[in-house]
Subunit: 346 residues, 2 copies
């Protein structure tokens, strides 16, 4: 969207029309119609001008007006990050339950943590006329959504904040939860604590790192930079990061794992070590209580994140147009054993 287009004051809910496109491109309405409908008889140069006007104005064919009105099912879209991450299961299901209670279908897609993919998917869902969107963003610039939001597609961000657009957002208290995790390890006598987190471009990863540093600072403990590792959460990277901290010149006696993907690999790594190492993981996970030692975690309420986001969305769909809200949900430390192991005195 260009600055010019963004500068155009437009009533909330009013979409640019084909006439607006024609006027901006300096062509007739019939030409715009040809381009939009993929009909022949338009020169490449004219087609490019029309396409540019379409992009600049955020014009989209309003197919919903033509969809069989009787029997049409309302639907909302949910764009998440990874279909196979168990953290998102309860979140998805909660959004779906709220959607169903409003008589709407839920349609999902996954960005696989790729901002371009997120945008493609969001716009594809908009083109397929979802009434609203819940987005777990992969990217940090959501200005591409402005025309949709302006046109009345209600949008709520969850788990991570929106980038450069004003919209409802529902987050966990990632900073506070990480502080609690690290303070818990410190309270059990640890001074050298490692943090293995997700990629630094992910908001939650940085918030958890901030919480880690704040807790260390509050206890007057220095942080050796070899104790912090952010990156992909695949088992190889996590294994090598954790091993380096455990075997380094300033070996850690405890680890704080930045999310459930990290935790499951760290549990495996620690199971192979001769000495006991304390562990607190961010995110609860199934069977965390049955592993030995059982895993101490900072739990997010994933279902409540989903339920709250969906609730805000249907509030918008009901026409409530007050300023965007930011809701932050608390986390909860669940002590199960792994986080209460004292420092190993070699």
């Amino acid at each position: 969207m260009t600055d010019t287009a963004r500068g155009t004051a437009r009533r909330y809910g009013s979409r640019p029309t084909m006439k607006d496109v024609a006027s901006r491109a300096g062509v007739g309405l019939k030409t715009v119609s040809r381009v939009v409908n993929g009909e022949p008889g338009v020169t490449p140069d004219t087609e490019r001008r029309v396409q540019e006007a379409i992009t600049a104005l955020g014009f989209r064919r309003n197919d919903s007006a033509r969809i069989l009105r009787k029997g049409r099912t309302a639907s909302i879209g949910l764009v998440l990050e990874d279909l196979a991450d168990p953290f998102y299961g309860p979140l998805c299901r909660a959004v779906e339950e709220v959607a169903r209670s409003h008589g709407a279908l839920l349609i999902n897609g996954s960005s696989a943590e790729d901002p371009a993919r997120e945008q493609e998917l969001v716009l594809a869902l908009c083109a397929r006329r979802v009434d609203g969107l819940v987005v777990i963003p992969a990217g940090d610039d959501h200005r591409y959504l402005e025309p949709e939001i302006a046109a009345g597609v209600a949008t709520v961000f969850v788990d991570r904040p929106a980038g450069q657009v004003d919209a409802d957002v529902v987050l966990s208290d990632n900073f506070g939860g990480a502080q609690d995790a690290v303070a818990h390890l410190i309270a059990h006598g640890h001074r050298r604590i490692g943090f293995v987190g997700d990629q630094p471009r992910i908001h939650t990863a940085m918030e958890r790192l901030r919480g880690y540093r704040a807790a260390m600072a509050a206890a007057g403990l220095p942080v050796d930079e070899s104790w912090v590792s952010l990156g992909a959460t695949d088992p190889e990277r996590v294994r090598s990061a954790a091993t380096a901290m455990l075997d380094g010149p300033e070996p850690v006696t405890a680890l704080f794992a930045g999310n459930n993907r990290v935790t499951v690999t760290v549990v495996r790594v620690l199971g192979e070590r001769p000495q006991p190492v304390a562990l607190v993981g961010f995110d609860d996970f199934e069977l965390a209580d049955l592993v030995r030692p059982a895993i101490t975690v900072v739990a997010q309420d994933a279902a409540r994140l989903g339920r709250t986001a969906a609730g805000l969305l249907f509030r918008r769909l009901d026409g409530i147009a007050d300023p965007p809200r930011r809701v932050e949900l608390p986390t909860r430390l669940i002590a199960r054993g792994s986080g209460e192991i004292p420092p190993y005195e070699g």
Copy 2:
């Protein structure tokens, strides 16, 4: 779809037109257009006749022809059973990866094991012009899909077979896998083995029960009917079923859990018993190797199920029109400890 409509020979890929609807309803084209576009000026009686003709012919507005052709993203739909069941995570992701390699987006929805919801979702995705569908069916009658399939929406069923329609299907060898599980327990000395399975209307649950009975019969072992319990997989039901088998007049010394949802609850139940009880679970799950004892499972290859189904789908989308295929993938027994516990001699 009526018998009359099904009897009408129609070329694969040719959709009924508005003209067909008009002719069947005995009205003019303009009237059909009004009904389809939700415009006024049609009497309720005429509207009903037109709607009946639409239903009988399987007519659907071909919105794809009107969607901006340039930049339109191909998409396929995946309808699964439960967004929060970790078994479906790798399956979803595999379908998505194949879709992406073909430049297509994946759109998902969940039936929550409700046949009516499945149908609603499938038709909503068709109305939103997915190019093809991968369906994990909740219902056992998919004749509602015939008009879509006839109109060229490629459809592949996975995990469970289609009901009453001819389509590609990809299944695990549920019968053989269950036989292996129970034969393994028998080989470790068990004679009284319980089976806690999913609901009897689910194809995989019945196939696994059939495998259980076949393995018992092959070893010449009787099955006391108190050793078989099918039903919902919520923790309360599973807990009470497993406890009844363990404390009954003919107590079992081993359990075969019918899927991963059942297994995680049975693991908890067994952890609270004074005597050791053997367990084999159908489906592998994360951390099965870290629980003590580690859990012996019959693993399905969920990713391969998804990959195979998506591969068949894109084969159809590429225009290959040979007869529907049925692919059955093998399962694999992974011995980890819980399935090798001998019978407890009280």
